[in-house]
Symmetry: C2
Subunit: 291 residues, 2 copies
């Protein structure tokens, strides 16, 4: 099979071709500019690829409500030209194949549940913690949409008692994203996270916030796996710290071997690594074919 | 159709007969005692009722993993005799009809989504705020189970700056349940919530906690409706206060008419009132027939 995949990010677009086993056979990447210019490059890439379907995991917020007249549109974004842009309709006008359409983080969650760290499971929560915090939710074998789509990067968390940083989220100040995304590390410690030593107290504080959010997600959703990706999670010392915070927050309340004995296999990095985004879009494309 | 329904609570059992329209035609109730004694009454009630299926919404925690050898068991509970009790297997031994089995709060969420305040919607979150806090989650047309089942009553919330009450949850102290369930009102203000006047500052503080939890649930799950039930929510002044807290916490981030213009129809009391539990069990029984 030849499936098309688009990882539509706010900074760059990645287009690729893959197969039903999750293997990416070809890929290109270009910066995200004005939609007409960007989509012209997408059209050019796919025009002679003879794909059976296309999956698109997009930056957002986007409209993923199939019953809406604005299904497939980007909704509100500061990105020039993209606010209200009919992304999926423009694609459909160009290519007459089934298309899958979801948020970039939901796509990544589906990719991980299909071929990655949650392969074979019918639920997982996927976090990307980088310049922002995004959350994809896969539950009972379905990507969660609901009213709009999950925006779990913006949940409120308890402030660490030693933290005087005000948070950078323009909407909420000190929500999870405002306190734990990359810019918060920079804002709080005055150097980029990547320059902080592994034993710096920054990481315990970072784990305090991420662990709290993950514990609340476990209580609310009871996912079978939690996947933590994104640039900030490239710091390997964070994983044991986050796991310890989650166990501390739950304090034995949720009774499951996966949590008590198997926490190292329960809160994990993405199995698809830096391919999670494009492979997730591939999974959306495959699902659009009913597979 | 004749569907059996069991609302299996920690304090009392309610058994009933209903039909495919959600109407309850008969009901009995008795205190929850040792399982053999309690189930003998259940067996006696249903033995000549000729029901086509039975739905059971049970107090928990319970095992709702169909792949588990302990499917249908109550897991760990301080309730004498019930810890590790094979509730569903005991029922199946007695009655050869399809059975639905889920938590009491998931059952209530399904009942509300079938005939109540979320009728026709494919997602809702149901809270019961009484002697404890329980949460049922219905997403993309399915009740969320996952690893165990949602336990969203125990999420961590930010403490109100004026609150000096330590919280009563034996696991987490000041989680949502520990700070906002009925015993917290009593513990903090030294009188039962039902005796506090409507303009008492207790209610603003109560709404602060509930609103925070609901805002986080909206961010994480994007439900199409949020239903707040249970004894504490019998205080009608709480609804506008909770709605205001949710809007304040979200601060316009989740862009949806349902939140901005329609918050009064988005965060609502149960449509099934005090029948939510039994009617939810009825919905489970109907679903067990593939309806």
């Amino acid at each position: 099979m030849r499936i098309g995949a688009i990882e539509a990010g706010g900074t760059k677009f990645v287009c690729g071709i893959g197969n039903e086993n999750g293997a990416i056979e070809d890929r290109v990447s270009f910066p995200t500019e004005h939609p007409e210019k960007t989509l012209a490059q997408v059209f050019e890439y796919f025009k002679d690829k003879a794909v059976e379907s296309i999956g698109i995991g997009s930056f957002g917020p986007i409209n993923i409500d199939e019953a809406s007249s604005a299904y497939g549109y980007v909704t509100t974004t500061p990105k020039p030209g993209w606010s209200g842009y009919p992304f999926l309709p423009a694609m459909k006008q160009q290519f007459d194949v089934p298309m899958g359409w979801d948020t970039d983080v939901n796509a990544a969650a589906l990719g991980e549940a299909t071929w990655g760290a949650a392969a074979g499971l019918d639920s997982c929560v996927y976090y990307t913690i980088g310049t922002g915090v995004g959350v994809g939710v896969y539950a009972e074998g379905k990507l969660v949409h609901g009213l709009v789509h999950p925006e779990g990067g913006h949940v409120l968390v308890r402030r660490h008692p030693d933290d005087e940083y005000e948070g950078f989220c323009p909407y909420h100040g000190d929500c999870l994203e405002g306190l734990a995304a990359g810019p918060a590390l920079q804002g709080r410690w005055k150097v980029p996270g990547s320059e902080l030593p592994q034993d710096h107290p920054a990481w315990a504080m970072e784990a305090y916030y991420i662990g709290q959010a993950v514990a609340n997600a476990v209580l609310m959703l009871s996912p079978k796996r939690v996947i933590l990706g994104g640039g900030v999670m490239h710091q390997p010392q964070l994983f044991p710290l986050v796991r310890a915070e989650v166990l501390k927050a739950l304090n034995g309340y949720v009774s499951s071997d996966a949590l008590a004995a198997g926490i190292d296999g329960y809160i994990v990095p993405p199995g698809l690594g830096d391919n999670a985004g494009l492979t997730g879009a591939l999974a959306l494309g495959l699902r659009a074919l009913g597979r």
